[in-house]
């Protein structure tokens, strides 16, 4: 994998978020934009992930979450996450990040308390999983920038669709 300097990456992301705040003013809108950008990134990232990690299909959602945490985060952010807090049905879990390279050097001013600074990551996960037919909900529930001790992304599987022949018989 090609690598770039982590600081350039972090600072570029920071200036992009700063620009979004300047453009949209409304913090909720910025959160939504970050998620949307992430979604588009995820739709492309998935092919790079699949092609380069050479992983086989995941047998269930637990394995999927584990791969995102151990392989995906490692490949693209050079960090790893812990998967925890599974619900009984195995459809919801948390990805816990102790180290988030996006937020190095970042401090949130008080008036931006509602900003989900790293919301892009949620979009990426959602976009990537959408491409493998998994519909998920993904959101930050804990954020170091907002005073928590770790970053926690809550992941919820909504549906896992099946593959069906896309054309009608007489088409």
């Amino acid at each position: 994998m090609e690598m770039i300097n982590a600081e350039i990456f972090t600072l570029t992301y920071g200036s992009m978020v700063r620009q979004l705040i300047a453009d949209h003013e409304d913090v909720e809108e910025v959160n939504a934009q970050l998620d949307k950008m992430g979604f588009s990134i995820g739709q492309r990232l998935i092919d790079e992930y699949l092609a380069k990690s050479k992983t086989q299909r995941c047998s269930d959602f637990r394995e999927t979450a584990d791969r995102i945490a151990k392989v995906g985060f490692k490949m693209f952010l050079n960090t790893t996450a812990t998967v925890a807090n599974w619900n009984a049905e195995g459809t919801e879990c948390s990805l816990i990040l102790e180290d988030n390279p996006l937020t190095d050097f970042v401090e949130l001013p008080e008036q931006l308390g509602a900003l989900k600074y790293s919301n892009l990551l949620c979009g990426v996960i959602r976009g990537a999983l959408e491409m493998v037919n998994m519909d998920v909900e993904c959101a930050f529930v804990r954020d170091v920038l907002r005073g928590d001790d770790v970053y926690e992304i809550r992941l919820k599987l909504l549906s896992s669709s099946t593959e069906a022949y896309p054309f009608k018989d007489d088409d």
Binding site: R44, A51, K52, R57, M131, V132, T162, E163, Y165, F167
Partner: protein, 172 residues
């Protein structure tokens, strides 16, 4: 020898033909029909392979919906006059190649790659994987003009594909 990339909805995103002995008009009728037939063939082969998979714990009914990436797949179909190589990407990308007399390989999930070749050509599994990982991802997916799932025509990708096929000795 022809090369197809289908998205997971069965739409042809990319098509290249180096050599086609019989024009499409005399075969499927139109290019669009040809794409459909090709995708249908790959799809049915996959479904058939899954239905008779001896390692599968339960017998799946032919044509029953499956989760993407589920079921067993096939690498190639060899006929007396051509071979179809197939690669299916885990994201549902299916690719196959067909050479007059040779074959193609599958990708997984996002879609598939199909290459048709002369029947004498050996396994192209690794080569299709290379096209997926090093050409498609690098030159198509990372191109800002590319919309996932939509047809594309990017000169650098076509050039690299041609160069690679020549390096493999498949083009004269």
């Amino acid at each position: 020898m022809t090369f197809y990339i289908f998205n997971r909805k069965g739409r042809c995103q990319y098509y290249h033909e180096w050599q086609r002995l019989k024009p499409v008009r005399q075969g499927a009728g139109s290019q669009e029909e040809d794409f459909k037939l090709m995708f249908g063939l790959c799809w049915s082969m996959r479904a058939l392979a899954t239905a008779i998979d001896p390692k599968s714990p339960s017998m799946k009914q032919m044509g029953a919906p499956m989760r993407i990436g589920d079921g067993c797949s096939f690498n190639s179909i060899k006929t007396s006059s051509f071979k179809l190589q197939f690669l299916e990407s885990p994201s549902g990308l299916k690719a196959s190649w067909r050479m007059p007399g040779s074959g193609g390989q599958p990708c997984w999930g996002a879609g598939c790659f199909v290459l048709t070749t002369d029947p004498s050509v050996g396994s192209m599994v690794e080569q299709l994987q290379y096209i997926y990982a090093s050409l498609f991802v690098e030159l198509v997916v990372k191109n800002p003009l590319y919309t996932p799932g939509e047809p594309f025509l990017f000169e650098p990708f076509s050039a690299a594909l041609n160069k690679y096929m020549r390096a493999l000795g498949l083009l004269s």
